[in-house]
């Protein structure tokens, strides 16, 4: 993406939310901005309406668990279909009790995506109209996509994966 476009987005954020940007980088062909977690939803709402950005299409959002940093990251991908510019916004939440306000007032599509993220990572979306599990059974007590839950039973002895395998 051209530098002009990047500066437009950064400018739009700094206009109202000075000091919120922690890092900006190009990850392959995708411009990524890491933000402080406090006003992420206000920033997305601001970018939605701001005349120079107008990110009015939510491509996707998802969670990422970083067990080493004891953090859960949230990733939001926004798209301006008119100028065909895409941006990825990232925030980092603490692993214990990750909470973030819901995006549903801005994008109706965020509803199930946030439910999915809650279901798999346990991120609490404050103000979500219907925050309950979506793909897993309601009785499940863990958040299965967190890294502390391995896919296979680690007590198995019939299979030695010390050479190959994570």
């Amino acid at each position: 993406m051209e530098v002009v476009e990047q500066e437009k987005i950064i400018g739009a954020i700094n206009e109202k939310f000075e000091g919120q940007i922690l890092k900006t980088e190009m990850l392959y062909d995708f411009f990524t901005i890491t933000l402080k977690k406090d006003s992420i939803i206000d920033i997305i709402g601001h970018l939605y309406h701001h005349p120079s950005t107008q990110f009015q299409y939510l491509t996707t959002l998802c969670g990422i668990h970083y067990p080493d940093q004891k953090q859960i990251a949230m990733m939001y991908q926004l798209h301006n279909l008119v100028s065909n510019v895409q941006v990825r916004l990232k925030i980092h939440l603490p692993e214990e009790n990750p909470t973030v306000p819901t995006l549903t007032p801005v994008f109706a599509a965020a509803n199930w995506l946030e439910r999915e993220t809650y279901d798999f990572f346990g991120v609490i979306f404050q103000g979500h109209p219907n925050l309950k599990r979506i793909l897993n059974v309601d009785e499940m007590i863990i958040f299965p996509m967190r890294k502390e839950y391995p896919l296979e039973d680690q007590t198995r002895e019939d299979k030695n994966d010390t050479m190959f395998g994570r």
């Binding site: 009015q56 990422i64 599509a109 199930w112 999915e116 897993n136």
Partner: protein, 402 residues
């Protein structure tokens, strides 16, 4: 005794009572495992509550334990009506992460396969819309053509439904003369059938009465719900990733993005119908312009060497072993790649930490995102229209539940 006037009797009626209807999860009319608890006022739907996840298979978690090439069969099972698009989308995501340059011939071959897959996807959706409006003839007729495409897959990769087509870097083998014969045969046969199917449906009075103005959504709501693919285009937004972010040399081909006006069942049907014609044209252009060259990129670290080499050559044997065990080095990185799937923007968000498996893989599944608009789209309509709306959105259970 004096009778009370009619107007009084009407106002005296007690509060309205609604009945609840459990549509699904295993009803044949839902074409998959979806449950909807419908709040009904007579035959009119007042509200709906969908429950999903009946065939959830934890793909994102599974992928975190599999080497990159072993993730391909998982992607088959997302939208199984157009599995090759998912496979190739995944290969391209990994190639983007690794920075592999793909030969032009491979890109063109991939375009041919992906457009064939798009045709099968739309065949299923449109034929099923016909079934739900009571026209079984078209369904049977069109499914014969789908069979021809599956025979082409079979000739290229050996599989039919869950194709696992291609490899990271290209194809496992070049298209055989028999495969080309089958493709050419399909290109001759299919337009005739498609034309006949169109004659049967598009100006059919019954079909038009059943579909026009049913299950509509405005462009504004569709965008807010992050619709993509034919469903968004039927609402009048010309967003197609093949044009917006061209991949696989789509910029080399001339094609039109059909758009609808009302976003109703009829528009979705017509958009898919036109897309099949466009896909046919793209395939013909790709065959006409097909460059000579290798059928895979030179990436010994990821592309399996031929078997004779493995048996007779030490380097090839080492590479073979390393690839199969997933022991080749992968760069650290974060990459998002989207392809225009049968249903819309199919995205792969991949984070690699340099290990043998993805650190995190998120599938942006178009079905999952647009199916949440379903209650809003069927509110106030009849039960039979609700079934038609679902089939015209082409919700695929595998993609919905991952």
């Amino acid at each position: 005794m004096e009778a009370t006037p009619l107007s009084d009797r009407v106002t005296q009626t007690e509060e309205k009572e609604y009945s609840y209807l459990n549509l699904g999860p295993t009803h044949p009319a839902t074409h998959g495992i979806f449950q909807n608890i419908l709040k009904m006022d007579g035959e009119v739907i007042v509200d709906a509550e969908p429950t999903i996840g009946y065939i959830h298979r934890a793909f994102e978690k599974l992928a975190e334990r599999r080497p990159f090439y072993q993730v391909t069969p998982i992607t088959d099972r997302l939208n199984y009506c157009s599995a090759p698009i998912n496979n190739i989308g995944w290969h391209m995501t990994v190639e983007k992460l690794l920075g592999i340059e793909i030969p032009k011939r491979v890109q063109y071959l991939r375009v041919i396969i992906m457009e064939l897959a798009r045709i099968t996807d739309h065949i299923i959706c449109n034929a099923v819309i016909g079934v739900d409006t009571g026209a079984l003839t078209g369904f049977v007729y069109m499914f014969q053509q789908r069979e021809l495409v599956y025979e082409i897959y079979e000739e290229i990769c050996g599989a039919r439904l869950t194709s696992n087509i291609g490899r990271i870097g290209g194809f496992e083998r070049d298209f055989s003369p028999k495969a080309w014969d089958k493709i050419n045969h399909f290109l001759i046969e299919f337009p005739k059938v498609l034309k006949e199917f169109e004659n049967l449906m598009t100006r059919n009075r019954i079909f038009m009465d059943r579909t026009i103005g049913v299950g509509g959504i405005t462009a504004e709501r569709a965008l807010n719900y992050s619709f993509s693919g034919p469903n968004l285009r039927a609402a009048g937004v010309d967003y197609d990733i093949r044009v917006a972010k061209p991949y696989c040399s789509y910029e080399d081909f001339e094609f039109v993005i059909p758009v609808g006006i009302n976003g109703d069942v009829y528009d979705r049907f017509m958009v898919r119908q036109e897309e099949m014609w466009q896909s046919l044209s793209i395939i013909k252009q790709a065959i006409a312009k097909l460059p000579e060259g290798p059928f895979h990129a030179t990436v010994p670290d990821f592309y399996l060497p031929p078997k004779e080499e493995v048996y007779n050559n030490m380097e090839a044997l080492i590479y073979h072993f390393k690839i199969v065990m997933g022991e080749t080095d992968v760069p650290k990185g974060e990459v998002y790649h989207a392809v225009e799937g049968g249903n819309g923007e199919l995205g792969f968000y991949l984070i690699s930490d340099g290990g043998r498996t993805p650190f995190r893989l998120h599938f942006r599944r178009p079905c999952f995102i647009f199916y949440q608009a379903y209650p809003e789209m069927i509110k106030g309509s009849m039960l039979s229209d609700a079934i038609l709306t679902m089939s015209s959105m082409n919700v695929i259970a595998g993609e919905l539940d991952a």
